[in-house]
């Protein structure tokens, strides 16, 4: 798999988002949800923290709903218009296509995240925030968003139609991001410390919460990277399977 092939796939999909105006709609929804939930669903007015914690805390939930909008047509259109075979007539392999498409979505989500800097700067006019910490949190949110993009793209690779891709990706992302396995197990079996610790290691919400609270641990970063790699691998295999 040549890097050039990957770049070609990436460029094709990245341009598609901006040409189709889909990204603007997703961006508007994302920003409105982020700002609205920040003001009305968290205690932001009363506890404005220096690390902009409440804003980042909401991100997995919001992105879990917005990212499937971006990924739903990633493979569905290729299946629908039979462009997949045309694509593969080029010297491009499945892995390059999967990674290229994933990178395109990830960058679009990155731009979306970047557009939310306005919210931070606007809040910064009224109260001081820790610039370096917030910037690191943006980076970590981008990493977390990458894992959701990969999961969403993998779900899309299994589906022939965009609505099915959207629904399955949303379901997967929401299940992954907002369900705290760790806290469930803690409630059900409060005494089994080892089991709680083990399930906490799989808990998306908890891992992200640790990161944005300032504890940037290697295991949390590895967690998101592993999810990303697993999902990418699964997605590529699904496309390969469909082709075979």
């Amino acid at each position: 798999m040549a890097f050039k092939d990957l770049l070609t796939c990436f460029e094709k999909d990245f341009k598609f988002y901006f040409q189709s105006n889909l990204v603007y709609l997703a961006m508007l929804i994302y920003l409105m949800l982020s700002a609205g939930l920040l003001l009305y669903a968290s205690d932001f007015y009363l506890n404005t923290t220096a690390n902009f914690y409440q804003f980042f805390k909401l991100q997995p939930g919001i992105l879990a709903m917005v990212i499937p909008v971006l990924t739903m047509r990633l493979w569905a259109d290729e299946y629908k218009y039979n462009t997949l075979e045309i694509l593969f007539t080029q010297p491009i392999n499945t892995a390059a296509a999967a990674i290229g498409k994933f990178l395109a979505v990830w960058l679009v989500v990155g731009i979306m995240l970047l557009s939310s800097v306005g919210i931070w700067l606007f809040v910064g006019l009224f109260t001081s925030t820790d610039v370096s910490w917030v910037l690191v949190n943006y980076g970590l949110t981008f990493l977390m968003a990458g894992s959701l993009c990969a999961v969403s793209a993998a779900a899309a690779a299994f589906c022939y139609s965009a609505p099915a891709a959207f629904l399955s990706a949303t379901m997967l992302c929401v299940l992954l991001s907002v369900t705290g396995f760790g806290s469930w197990i803690e409630e059900i079996l409060p005494d089994s410390t080892r089991l709680i610790k083990l399930t906490q290691a799989f808990d998306f919400e908890q891992q992200f919460d640790e990161l944005i609270s300032g504890k940037v641990s290697l295991s949390s970063i590895a967690y998101f990277v592993i999810i990303m790699a697993t999902a990418l691998w699964t997605g590529a295999a699904a496309v390969e399977y469909k082709r075979s």
Binding site: L39, F44, L46, T48, S128, K215
Partner: protein, 630 residues
């Protein structure tokens, strides 16, 4: 670059292995990887918090590595806290994370557990037994718990009855201190001698200590506090150090007891005060002799200049003094290079003193004198007696810059010689119960003198002193108490740790506070005007009322005048209420405007900016293409 997995699995897929199995395999593999990484990389992290609140200081890590006792730390959290008070809940999470670090560094000897307290359950009984304090949430309806207990293998329990976010910077210090207290065997005994306690209650002087929060702090700091009698000829056996606080009219016998205690290798900390004896002597309010502490110090080559107040223009705190907002030279804020590098002062960042005297000292044979902290180079001085009628003009007139560094605390260590030539006590029955009289030191002693006893006053270290909940409710504003603890630790050679207070890098305000202040500012002038009118008219009303009472029969004019004033007061009060209503309305307007800008305008502008950006990019590409075609 290739994704090997896809290539490797290609033949498998070709052999009609179901994709479901393949996905299941990958998921299991990734779960195993996550579990493996979390096991291997457990505890490897960067602390991104500005105050490094997730990392332990060197002092704590050293203490944890040296201590060999199993200690269980229980964090008690009410289940309602998460729903009812997110701020406290967030703080509880931070505490829990920090406890995780203790567990990690504690060689397996520090065990931590989170106990969720449910009402009327065994967990509630456990919390109360451990000494956790319940408190009402802001709605006043429900009592909750957020505290911590530490229990050693012998079942000895120490507690932080209530964890408050305001004391966040002290958290590590509090926990480490308690662990070191549990790890140490015997509690050092600190004898406290002060005329304050004696004057309040001769029989049980320490009961008065309830109003002296520093005594509570010392007690919570791991010392067994013993009140000493000022009429006893000797310091009792088993006292590891003596704290003499605000020596005023101290009996000569007490000075003798202290002198002999020093001869036998005792450790004494004296917190002197410029106003303790000087003021009362001049006013002849108190009869008799001066305490003789000055002589005890002179004997060690030290003179306490209580007749002179030292100031420092650069190292002082601001205050409103006679309507002038000034850096008040006598409100000292000692920091930086003015604090010596010594085990006692290491990690001490800021010390507050009010109206301090200073020390002059000469070298004495066998004694080593160390200046622990002093004023800066921009210092000045004023006679203490001039404080009697101190106002802004007098301050300018009487305070003179001297540009000298004045020592404010000294540590004198070594072999002392006695102030007395012979025993003060000759009664055989008393003598037999005392150590024999010594003319010179039998063992090395230590004397630590501080130029201002106000250092221990709650107003100079406790930001939340009005709450009066207890030791762990005190949000400190200076390192005064930590200095006292470290000084006593040093004197008693205890193994307790005092971790430096973490300095806050960010003082951020809540948005609701910001908008409230903005709203209040909008009507600030009007409110000020109405309030001052109200005060004025109320004063007039009182005067008129007095005039009315003075005459047997008030005139109609007088009654009308009072009626008019009453009416005016009602009007002004109405005006105040209206302003409060308008302020609230303005606050709501600000919130609405802020929300509107955040939720609607900012997203639309951001999307528009992105669209315009893409449009410009497209135009650029088109232009380039045209140029290329041409």
């Amino acid at each position: 670059m290739s994704i090997k997995g896809v290539d490797i699995l290609k033949p498998c897929l070709g052999k009609n292995i179901k994709i479901g199995y393949f996905v299941l395999g990958i998921v299991v593999l990734s779960l195993a990887s996550i579990a493996g990484v979390s096991l291997v990389a457990d505890g490897l992290y960067f602390d991104m918090t500005p105050e490094k609140s997730l990392s332990l200081s060197e002092e704590t890590v050293n203490m944890l590595q040296k201590q060999d006792k199993a200690i269980v730390i229980r964090l008690f959290i009410s289940e309602k806290l998460a729903k009812k008070n997110p701020e406290l809940n967030m703080y509880a999470k931070d505490v829990s994370r920090l406890l995780g670090t203790y567990h990690k560094e504690g060689k397996g000897l520090i065990k931590t557990a989170v106990v969720e307290v449910e009402p009327f359950s065994s967990s509630q009984a456990e919390a109360e037994k451990a000494g956790i304090q319940k408190f009402a949430l802001s709605d006043g309806r429900e009592n909750v718990y957020l505290g911590m207990s530490l229990t050693d293998e012998r079942g000895r329990t120490l507690a932080i009855p209530r964890l408050i976010p305001e004391r966040r910077d002290e958290l590590e210090s509090d926990i480490s201190r308690l662990i070191s207290i549990l790890a140490a065997g015997r509690q050092p005994r600190l004898g406290v001698l002060s005329p304050y306690f004696r004057a309040a209650n001769e029989k049980d002087p320490l009961r008065y200590a309830e109003n002296m929060p520093f005594v509570n702090e010392l007690s919570a700091g791991g010392y067994e506090i013993v009140s000493l009698s000022s009429s006893a000829p000797a310091i009792p056996e088993g006292i590891d150090a003596v704290l003499l606080f605000y020596p005023l009219n101290l009996d000569r016998i007490a000075v003798y007891a202290l002198d002999q205690y020093l001869m036998w290798g005792g450790k004494i900390m004296i917190m002197l005060d410029t106003f303790a004896e000087e003021r009362f002597r001049d006013k002849e309010k108190y009869i008799g002799y001066r305490s003789g502490i000055q002589q005890l110090l002179n004997n060690s080559g030290v003179t306490y200049r209580e007749d002179i107040l030292v100031g420092d223009n650069a190292n002082s705190r601001t205050r409103i003094f006679d309507e002038h907002y000034i850096k008040y030279p006598f409100w000292l804020k000692i920091s930086g290079d003015n604090i010596a590098d010594h085990p006692i002062t290491r990690g001490i960042n800021e010390l507050y003193l009010n109206y301090s005297g200073f020390f002059e000292y000469v070298s004495k044979e066998n004694l080593e004198t160390t200046v622990l902290f002093s004023t800066g180079a921009d210092s000045g001085a004023m006679l203490t007696e001039k404080t009697a009628d101190l106002n802004y003009d007098n301050l300018l007139k009487n305070y003179a810059l001297t540009n000298k560094k004045y020592p404010l605390a000294l540590l004198i260590e070594g072999n002392f010689s006695s102030l007395f030539d012979q025993p003060l006590v000759w009664e055989q029955s008393i003598l037999s119960s005392m150590s024999p009289f010594l003319k010179s030191s039998a063992d090395k002693g230590a004397l630590l003198v501080v130029g201002d006893s106000d250092m221990a006053g709650a107003f100079l270290w406790d930001a939340g002193r009005d709450k009066k909940h207890g030791v762990y409710d005190a949000a400190t504003i200076s390192d005064n108490i930590r200095f006292m603890l470290k000084a006593l630790d040093y004197l008693m050679q205890s193994n307790y740790v005092s971790v430096s207070r973490k300095e806050k890098r960010f003082e951020h305000k809540n948005l609701s506070e910001v908008f409230s202040a903005l709203a209040a500012d909008s009507y600030g002038d009007q409110k000020k005007q109405i309030t001052s009118d109200l005060i004025e008219i109320r004063q007039k009303m009182v005067a008129a009322g007095e005039r009315l009472q003075a005459v047997p029969l008030p005139s109609i004019k007088q009654i009308k005048e009072i009626e008019e004033m009453q009416r005016k007061i009602t009007e002004l009060e109405e005006g105040l209420r209206r302003i409060e209503y308008l302020t609230e309305e303005k606050y709501q307007d600000y919130l609405f405007m802020f929300a509107l800008l955040m939720v609607v305008l900012l997203p639309v502008l951001s999307v528009a900016a992105a669209r315009i950006g893409y449009f410009c990019y497209n135009r650029y590409i088109q232009r380039k293409a045209k140029e290329f075609v041409k």
